[in-house]
Symmetry: C2
Subunit: 113 residues, 2 copies
Amino acid sequence: MEQSDYLPLQEPTFFILLSLANEPRHGYAILKDVEALSGGKIRLGTGTLYGALNRLLDQGLIQRSPNGVASHPGKPRKAYQLTQTGLRVLQAETSRLNHMLSAARLRLGETHT
Amino acid sequence: MEQSDYLPLQEPTFFILLSLANEPRHGYAILKDVEALSGGKIRLGTGTLYGALNRLLDQGLIQRSPNGVASHPGKPRKAYQLTQTGLRVLQAETSRLNHMLSAARLRLGETHT
DNA sequence: GTCTTATATGTCGTTGGATGACATATTCAG
DNA sequence: CTGAATATGTCATCCAACGACATATAAGAC
């Protein structure tokens, strides 16, 4: 299994992995984080989110992380973290994005950005 | 209809539009151009290509272009070109890609590129 | 002349991730 | 007690991508 077998990532999946890049988070926290991270442009539906989390678990790109014990509203939290594979996939996807932008600059004639 | 209604673009669609950014091309030429443009990494299947071309026609992102009269092997060529809408969508997608990379740099801690 | 290769367009069934609607549970503030 | 924010989850549907297959033509090799 190479990381390229998981590419390309779709937008929601990309942001979910990115949200977990530095620290473990539970689902709802990912939801809010992605919204902030994208400047409010991306609002994950819960169907998209929890579907993706289960798929990513199956694929081994994320894994369960010990839940904090703090009291909080709502159903019990489930925290997740990136696996090494997940990180590699995220980096590979970032690289792919860079290649696409290089190609776009060539054809659309932008100097940089 | 805003250009954002067509986003995000999938990889094949993005490269097809990009291939038409500067000059009209027929399907098979797009196939070869995308392969070159991506450094050989992306090889469109014909199902993907012709399916996408018809969809993009429906959506008004591309339009038929007068066919050259040159003799050539194979079935008669059908040339396509970007519409103004198509160009705007392509630019919007490029912008979206840039935002994603900005977010990735923040979280993955890359200095640039 | 025929065979192969490159060119060229097309159809079709399947898959897989995204999406929106809906359901459920808990804590806290007013 | 009621509503809002928090929190997880299911389900049916949609749609672009994908791979396999089909068809046609021109040119060059032999």
